[in-house]
Amino acid sequence: MATPYIGVPVQRREDLRFLTGAGNYTDDLTLPGQTHAVFVRSPHAHARIRSVKTAAAARAPGVVGIFTGEDVAAARINGLPCGWLIHGTDGQPMKEPAHPILAQGKVRHAGDPVAVVIAESLAQARDAAERVEVDYDLLPSVVDSVEALKPGAPLVHDDVAANRCYTWAIGDKAATDAAFASAAHVTTLEFQNNRLIPNPIEPRAVNATYSRADDSYTLHVSNQNPHVERLLMCAFVLGLPEHKVRVVAPDVGGGFGSKIYLYAEDVVLTWASKKVNRPIKWTAERSESFLTDAHGRDHHTRAQLALDRDGRFLALRVDTKANMGAYLSTFASAVPTILYATLLAGQYATPHIHCEVTAVFTNTAPVDAYRGAGRPEATYVVERIVEAAAREMKIDPAALRRRNFIRSFPYQTPVALLYDTGDYEATLDRAIEMADVAGFPARRAEAARRGKLRGLGYACYIEACGIAPSSVAGSLGARAGLFEAGEVRVHPTGKVTVFTGSHAHGQGHETTFAQVVADRLGISMDDVEIVHGDTSKVLFGMGTYGSRSLAVGGTAIVKALDKVVAKGRKIAAHLLEAAESDIEFADGQFRVAGTDRSKAFAEIALTAYVPHNFPHDKLEPGLNENAFYDPSNFTFPAGTYVCEVEVDPETGIVRIERFVAVDDFGNIINPMIVEGQVHGGLVQGLGQAMNECGIYDSGSGQLTTGTFLDYCMPRADDMPSFQVDTRSTPCTHNPLGVKGCGEAGAIGSPPALMNAITDALGVADFAMPATPQRVWATLQQAQRKQAA
């Protein structure tokens, strides 16, 4: 009966509906009386609004309602909140300028919403939106974080001096400075971590409806955490009673972080649905996604690594300017601080680290968490500078890393984190073996004979996942705890419905979680249904991001399962007339220890619902348990990636010839899903390093890369066939021993690729993305330097 499910590559049960068009996405929903919204957006990066004239638009055919910033202000609707309060080095809280849901007074980035037009059909809403006349006074704009800090730079918010949101620091500056003073070698590098535009395949979509019958709202939205969306919208923006608002995030076609946040459109439609008393739908066009989805990364960083003469790391010093965009998105302030600077120890026992981060407002789309969120930026800094130091000191890059690995656990880093476990040597060894590093010199020589440049690069990454122990998060500024909730409802027939606060939008939770449940209860996976994404069904949820679903959401389910089994034992003891302490549960059977007397799980379930003679003082009917799980620590997935490239110096084209990823994700529930997550993460990371770059024009503030004609997404033919493997050390503080795998690929791959490319080109200073033009220009420059 009991089939082991843990560690088995079960096919994803959700794929049937995704691949056969049976999925149910927000835009698929059309309600009776459906209307459609179109947003009038700022064509300018920065301007004062002189007037918004809507009379002509209001007369257009089919128009149901038009609302502007003035209407929003009159209704006393608050701005969008930021969920993480950072205090600066000056002790002051970060600057949190208002983020109105429709612009009031000023527009601050191209795409800032100014008005919403609601009509019977989408075409009518579009036609009417063209008749909304907005009179702007253009203002100079600034799009770059370093430029925005300079004296005289245009002010994005009139009351935020120097566009500085905060300057924050972590680590012991004096000790770091002292270590630098005694260093035998100092490596210095400047980095730009390029701005990324997420582009999930399903754009953001909202369908909001109001019911006069019971004064309630239902919001369908393509979102990664419906409960958080509801909480933020009800409590902080609209002031609606939470029990009158249902948020449903049905099938969601990818998020990568960009659908964590509460967006203006979600709130505008919810509010307006009561005003017009009709359901309102809005689905972003791809152009709107480019302009208004929260972007990722965009750091300027200067880093220095101090080493002794043997290559032991003495200290790391990092200064980062992080672009926040025009407004603080929901988690924006946490990304370049808590999720970034705390990861700067990497896999190394660097005794002293100091990092200062200045967050800056600019006339660009807000920047927030994007697959990896801070951890890719940290890993990029650490792994690029370690590789550069190895080359400068003429030490083998793998040997230099080995020399500095953390080897005893638990390990307290100088930047707040406590690593529970790991074996960095094991992943490095396996990666070196799989990548045939020993054969690299011969491959390089062979490539040289063909006129090609071959290079090899490493990245040994670490990340903090399982976000987050609430006490730690709270002490670091989180305005909410980051636990997760789960509920296990056993039906009378022994079938099980599990409600989880984790949301799935490509991760395969419906399979992985069902494997855990079936395995624990000793029942068939077919008897387990996983339900998520609906505040009216799931008791609570903090949602999916930060590779937390299995480690935190999965653990909450396990805790609820433990309660189910505990109650099952009570019922079994009653039925079998044995002491509860004598009941064992294994392979789906409750058994009196040492006897053949047992009851199957389904029998216990039925009894729970037809309890003819329960001792009511001791045993309630029913078998339904819920649990909340707040992790005691982060989890720390880690691994080694090795990348080998070949550069065509004539064209600048880089080909990734080999890519090896060896990860430590702790215990693995479904190796096929894990491998898929790694592949996806790698493509996203390599896409950042090779192709993608969100560019704003420094003069006009316009988004230059506003379509796929110019924003270069990675494609299958850009990628090699990945070689992946795992070396696991189980997490020590959750019952499944799992760490999380969703972001690793995107975290470790950019520095591995860039280290390989810089190795091929023979230069230290080369910024992402490695487009053919930039590779070619760098080679030209190197040639000219050599000639001179």
Binding site: A123, R126, D127, S287, E650, T651, G652, N691, I695, T704, T705, F708, L709, D710, Y711, C712, M713, T771, P772, Q773, W776, A777
Partner: protein
């Protein structure tokens, strides 16, 4: 997209008369640019006259003089035509490298040539192979057809009916794709024609397809990769964008020309 009237033409003449009947009418010849422009509300024709049903605009003929393709030949048809593959493999290969599968199954040669996108592939074939463009009113030599960015010798109401390619001795097309759009960032078609003359046509690099006289002369003297390897094309007037500055495009013209010669000789 704004509302418009959809019409179907049964022949080139029918299309011409329908076109003349409406001031803001446009032809639909595959729609791979037109439909996208309309969806973005950048184009708003009153009428769209679909040429897909015009039988006289279709068909591929191969004879001693060369290959003649109806203007409504889809890229995929050209790419997989056994006759074209045999008689003019360079054209079949070029057509098979346009856009993606969906674009190739909808887009047409006539549509592409009439639109004259500076990064389109077909203009390089028409100019490089010294083709003749036949319209509802006349025949136009390739050298006289492409006038500027999105600008051709076509007069209002004039419709391309077919394009005739003479068979060269040897030819090849090399495309350096824009990493994002996969359009030609630089595409070079090199052809040694039957009379021994050489044409080097470059698309993607400038505002309109153009020939490189210095390369043609060098290749007429010696049709070898080395003949063009050191010929530099001036960067002045070439396109410059985030993907390629003008000097990089100029450099790529030389590299792609050299590789096209190699491929033509292979």
């Amino acid at each position: 997209m704004y509302a418009f009237r959809y019409q179907t033409a049964s022949s080139a003449a029918d299309a011409a008369s329908r076109l003349a009947a409406h001031e803001d009418a446009k032809l639909l010849a595959g729609g791979q640019t037109m439909i996208a422009s309309m969806k973005l509300r950048l184009a708003s024709p009153s009428d769209l006259i679909d040429l897909a049903g015009a039988a006289d605009l279709r068909g591929i003929t191969v004879d001693a003089r060369g290959v003649t393709l109806g203007a409504m030949s889809r890229h995929a048809e050209v790419a997989r035509s056994a006759e074209v593959q045999k008689a003019l493999p360079v054209l079949a290969k070029l057509a098979g490298g346009i856009g993606d599968r969906m674009v190739r199954n909808m887009g047409t040669m006539g549509g592409s040539v009439a639109n004259n996108d500076p990064a389109a592939d077909y203009p390089a074939a028409v100019l490089g192979l010294n083709a003749t463009v036949t319209t509802t009113t006349r025949s136009i030599a390739a050298d006289d057809f492409f006038l500027g960015m999105y600008e051709t010798a076509l007069q209002p109401g004039e419709i391309i009916t077919s394009i005739s390619f003479p068979i060269p001795k040897r030819a090849a097309y090399m495309k350096f794709k824009n990493p994002a759009s996969r359009y030609a960032m630089v595409g070079v078609l090199v052809a040694q024609l039957a009379d021994g003359s050489v044409r080097v046509a470059v698309t993607g690099a400038g505002p309109v397809v153009f020939r490189v006289a210095a390369m043609e002369k060098a290749l007429e003297a010696s049709f070898t990769p080395a003949a063009v390897a050191s010929i530099k094309v001036p960067a002045d007037g070439l396109n410059a964008d985030i993907h390629a500055q003008a000097d990089y495009r100029a450099h790529l013209i030389t590299v792609m020309a050299k590789r096209a010669v190699e491929a033509a000789l292979a």
